[in-house]
Structure formats: C-alpha cells, structure tokens
Amino acid sequence: MNRIDKKFKALKKYGAKAFIAYITAGDPDLSTTENIVLALESSGADIIELGIPFSDPMADGPTIQAASYRALRNKVNLKKIFKMVVHLRRITDIPLVFMTYYNPVFKYGLTSFFRSCAACGVDGVIIPDLPYEEAKELIALGKKHEVATIFLAAPTSTRERIKHIAKVSTGFIYYVSLTGVTGARSKLPPEVIANVKAIKKLTDKPVAVGFGISNPGQAKDIAKVSDGIIVGSAIVRIIGEKKRMIPRISNFAKQMATAIHGI
C-alpha cells in the first residue's frame, strides 16, 4: 500500500484529519528543505508536498512565486530534488508528494519521471496545469509505478467533472477552496463547507482542501468536513522571512496540527 493511503487509513482509525504541508523544494536551499521537512514532521504534519519550482507558476500567488524564484536562482532541478528525496528516505517515512507544473515533468520525460518517483520514494504527484483530459499517459504511468496521481477539483467544476476527477485521482482529491491562485487569505468563501460535503457524497476517496488556508481557526472549520487540510503559503512566507525559520515553522505547524487533528 502506498504511504499516502496508509496515512489516511491510520488517521481514520482515530477520526483525525490529515495536515498536509507544502514547501518549495530548494527554498532557500535543498539541505534546509530537508531540515524543514523533518521539523514539519515532528510538529505534526502528516504528508509533505514538495513544490518543484517552475519559471512560470500560473496557479500561484506572490508568496509561492517568490519561493520558486529563490529556488531557481539556486539552480534547483528535478534531478537534484530526487537526490534529496533519496537522502530524506533514509531518515523518514512521511508521505511525500511532488507539486509542480507540467513542463518540467514533460521535459524530464514522463516515463523517467515516474520511474524516478518510484525508485526514490515519492508517493504522489499534483500538477495544477494538467486537467484529466490531458493526463491519460500520466494516469497510466502512476498506476504502473504505484505513484498517486492527485487531481484538483475547483468550485467551478461541474458534477460530471468532479465524478471524473474522483475516478482518476489516487491518494486523495485536492479541492481548491476558492477561485483564485495560492496564497494566504484572511477569509475563505463560506460555501467551501457545502462544496466539500457535496464532493464527499460523490466519492469514498479522501478529500483534502487547500488554497488560502492560513490559520488554525480556518483549518479547524474545514477539517470538520474534509479528510485533510493543505497549508502552503503561510509556511512559505515564514521561509521567505528567513528569521528564526525552523522554530517559527515548528511553532506554526504545531498549532495547525492541533487544529486539524484534534477533532
């Protein structure tokens, strides 16, 4: 069983929800990324999303754009990130999911990409600019190499589309809380709760909610109906500020973990 599935199964036993933390790999550098992953894990994160930086991140707001830019300035690429994952896998068994745009994966070669994911211990992949219509080959390769292919569902998705997304998603379904790009928001649209409930009626697969969630209050509210909460920009912002990075991330992650788990 894939590490993601195992994790959701284990959490379900206790009625807890998953805290999924996003950081950009290589921001500020790859060895710090490893340390942040370990700090997040020990502070209660259940799954780590590693952003593979892309020059033109059209689904990201300013915080993650800046992180991608910092990582790319350090000449980070997929090869180096796979190497880092191999190193991390000697220390931790936490589920790791790559989040990136399609072009770096396409250029690396889809088959090689999935082979590397399986060989290095990457458990899943999220590609926000790859809707399922364009993802036939990716879905087949994911199945073959037992790497989860996680698709996004949005507030604008029709019922038909959500059904299809649920069908082709493995690991979990990524529900985008709002129409917009990534980035911390002080307020989320009130219809999130109802929308997540509606999706849950269409599928048995775990549904995690991301985009905009930046404080424990929001996380707690949404975790009541979802199977997981994804937090990115709020963590990446701390990395961007550099000052006392690890203790501040740990502190924030602990608060989020308590809010998400403690239901």
């Binding site: 809707p131 949005a154 604008t156 998705s157 589309r161 917009g180």
Partner: protein
C-alpha cells in the same frame, strides 16, 4: 479539420490550464461555435470590421522598393492602416462581440508592444465594458505611448514585475486574474496562443486578412503570390494571412521570427527556429526552454515578438512542412524599417519590419516575374522612441 475536438493540431495545442478554468473554456468554446453559426453575429462582425476598423485594408504594390531591389514584386497587405494601427483590432472586435454575447462585464488582456492592449481597451470603450490590461514593466518602459493610450481609453494598466517583466509574465498574470475573476471576466487573448479554443478562435477572427489579400491579389495580378511573408511572435498576423493560402500548394508560407542579437546568442525570440516542444500558457507547442524545462527569457527589439512561445498551429505547420520559419535580427529589422520608410513613405512597426527585411532579402534572389506578399501587420508610431535612440 484542424484543430480536432480536443483542440489539437496533430499533437500541438490542447488545454493545459487549472481545473478552475476548464468549465469557462468549455463555455467559451460552445458560445464561439454558436456565434460562428449565427448569421446575425457574422453580419455584425463584418459590419464592425468595415465601419469601425476600416476594412478591407489595401493591398499595395511597393513599386519603388521593388525597383530598387530589382527582383520579385513586393506587395504589402496594409493592416497598419486599421484603426488603432495594427491587425490586433480584428481579433479584439470579434472577442469583444463574444464577451457581449456571454454577458461578461469585464475584459482583461495581456500585452507586449501594447498594440493588443490598446485594441482591447478600444473595444472596451466602444462596448462600454470594464477593462484591465496586464503589461510587463520592461514593456511599459519601452512602449510608453501605448500605455498612455490605454489609460485615456479608460483601461486600468497593471504593471507586471515578475520574471522577465515582458509579454510572457503579463500572460501569467492575466491567467491568474482570470482564475480569480472567472465568473465576471472575459479574457481576450491577443495571439493564436493559449488553451483551446483560443488558437482556433483568434485565427478565425484574423483570417479576414488572408481572405481579402487572396482576392485582392487575384484582382491585381490575376494569380496568387509565390510567397507570403509575415512576422511571428505568438503568430496571430501570420496565421491570419496564411490561413486562406494553406490549400494553395504553389504559395510558399514564410514566418519570420525575431533573431534579436543573433541565433547563435541567447538573446533572441526564435521559438520555432531554435526551440523545442513543451507546455506553456495552456498549450503544447514549441518553446524556448532550458534542459530542466524552465522557460527562457526571449529578446527582441520589438516588444510584440519578445515571447518564448508560439501558437500551436505554427508548430504544426512547421512540423508538416507547410510553412517555413526563418529569423531576422534586431539590426536587420531596423534596416527593413528604414528602407520602407525612405522608399515608400510608410513607417512600419518594428514587428512587421522583420517580415519586410526577409522579403527584401528574398526579392533580391528571385526573378522579376515572382510575387511576394508581405503582411504589414502594424504601423511604427509606437516605436518612435526606440528608433529615435538609434537613427
């Protein structure tokens, strides 16, 4: 029929966008096909092109230029004479009418040289719609007059400071805005790029150029041209003039990209000549990218060609060998600019000057009984500040 139902031109194109936009693209496609079939819409579009934009544009025989070169005859399709100064208005009027039909109160657009931004702001003013234009800081600096025009037309011009601060980054920002405001906003893409249905739709709206030119050429010379030459950034003016000649196998189609400081340098925008296949801004096509799949920064003296991608149909035409793509440097484009200005009294846009220079080179090599048709896609008013610094 190209593209196919999924928006592919034999492997190029498609829809590579966030899920949030997929329903909007499906709606747009549906509405566009309905409009295309609707006699009233077609009549309205034709009327507005005639009465407002100033179509048909002239087909002009460049006699002095031809005589000076002593080779093939050069004809110019005068898109520079259109309202707002370039072919861009053909597309923005078409998409503006579509936005009205879809009851979207707000238009957004990306712009490089500012021609598409001005054309979109113009249509917004004409139709009473709200308008926001995204433009790279670098382009705002080099195309100041167009920025001012957009503003007095009532558009909000939002500077984009990410990445290369040019057209590519403006397009990223426009997509981000569209993802955020998708319910109220119509995104007017300015080239034959982006996700399906845009490459097809923009081509169709621009295809009036080739339809007119073909007819005018037959009337003037009793035959078709031997070569059709157009500049290619994203590729809308080129697709517009090529499209009606695709089936005329005797007519050579030549797209001219920007070679910037030279194809052997890293400072160019010659996507089809030097790039490789990848995915950017919603479609699969040729790109300028590094071995890791990061998009490289393009360079050209002309902001309108300064783009590291290209419309998918051009990739298809290149791959099947129907069109040929070449590149012209900044310096050569300026030479083309100067020749047309001095010999014909026509000041071309720097973008179109790339096509002109290639036509000049080609004409010299060909006998006098051959004919070259050049798409003079825009006028040079906007480039005066750049050119003044050089001549």
């Amino acid at each position: 029929m190209k593209p196919d139902k999924k928006g592919y031109f034999d492997g190029f194109g498609g829809k590579f966008v966030p899920e949030t936009l997929m329903v909007a693209l499906a709606e747009l496609e549906k509405e566009y096909f309905a409009a295309k079939k609707d006699k009233l819409f077609r009549r309205e579009f034709a009327a507005i092109l005639k009465n407002y934009a100033g179509r048909p544009t002239l087909l002009y025989y460049a006699k002095r230029l031809t005589e000076k070169l002593g080779g093939a005859k050069i004809y110019l399709k005068r898109e520079d004479l259109l309202h707002t100064g370039a072919h861009k208005i053909n597309n923005t009027l078409g998409q503006g009418l579509l936005a009205l039909r879809m009851k979207k109160p707000r238009l957004i657009a990306e712009t490089g040289a500012g021609q598409h931004g001005v054309a979109t702001a113009t249509v917004a003013a004409l139709f009473g719609l709200k308008c926001e234009i995204f433009m790279g800081e670098e382009d705002i600096r080099r195309q100041a007059i167009n920025v001012f025009k957009m503003k007095i037309l009532g558009a909000k011009v939002t500077p984009v400071s990410s990445g290369s601060k040019t057209l590519k980054d403006a397009m990223n920002e426009a997509i981000r805005d569209w993802v955020t405001n998708v319910a109220s906003t119509y995104y007017v893409i300015g080239s034959v790029a982006g996700p399906h249905p845009y490459p097809m739709m923009v081509r169709d709206f621009q295809s009036v150029i080739g339809r007119e030119a073909r007819r005018q050429m037959l009337a003037a010379e009793g035959r078709l041209p031997d070569h059709v030459v157009a500049c290619v950034g994203g590729g809308s003016n080129a697709m517009g003039i090529f499209y009606s000649f695709l089936k005329d196998k005797t007519v050579g189609l030549i797209g001219v990209e920007a070679a910037g400081l030279g194809l052997n340098t890293t400072k160019h925008a010659a996507t089809l000549c030097k790039g490789s296949v990848g995915i950017l801004h919603g479609s699969k096509s040729y790109l300028l990218q590094d071995p890791d799949g990061q998009i490289e920064i393009a360079h050209s003296i002309s902001a309108g060609l300064d783009y590291p991608g290209v419309g998918p149909e051009h990739s298809y035409l290149k791959e099947m060998g129907r069109a040929k793509y070449v590149a012209v440097t900044d310096k050569e484009a300026l030479e083309g600019f100067k020749m047309l200005t001095e010999l014909e009294g026509i000041i071309p846009a720097l973008e179109s000057s790339h096509a002109l220079y290639h036509a000049v080179k080609l004409a010299k090599r060909l006998p006098r009984n051959k004919i070259i048709l050049v798409n003079l896609s825009g006028r040079g008013d906007k480039d005066m500040d750049i050119v003044r610094g050089i001549f």
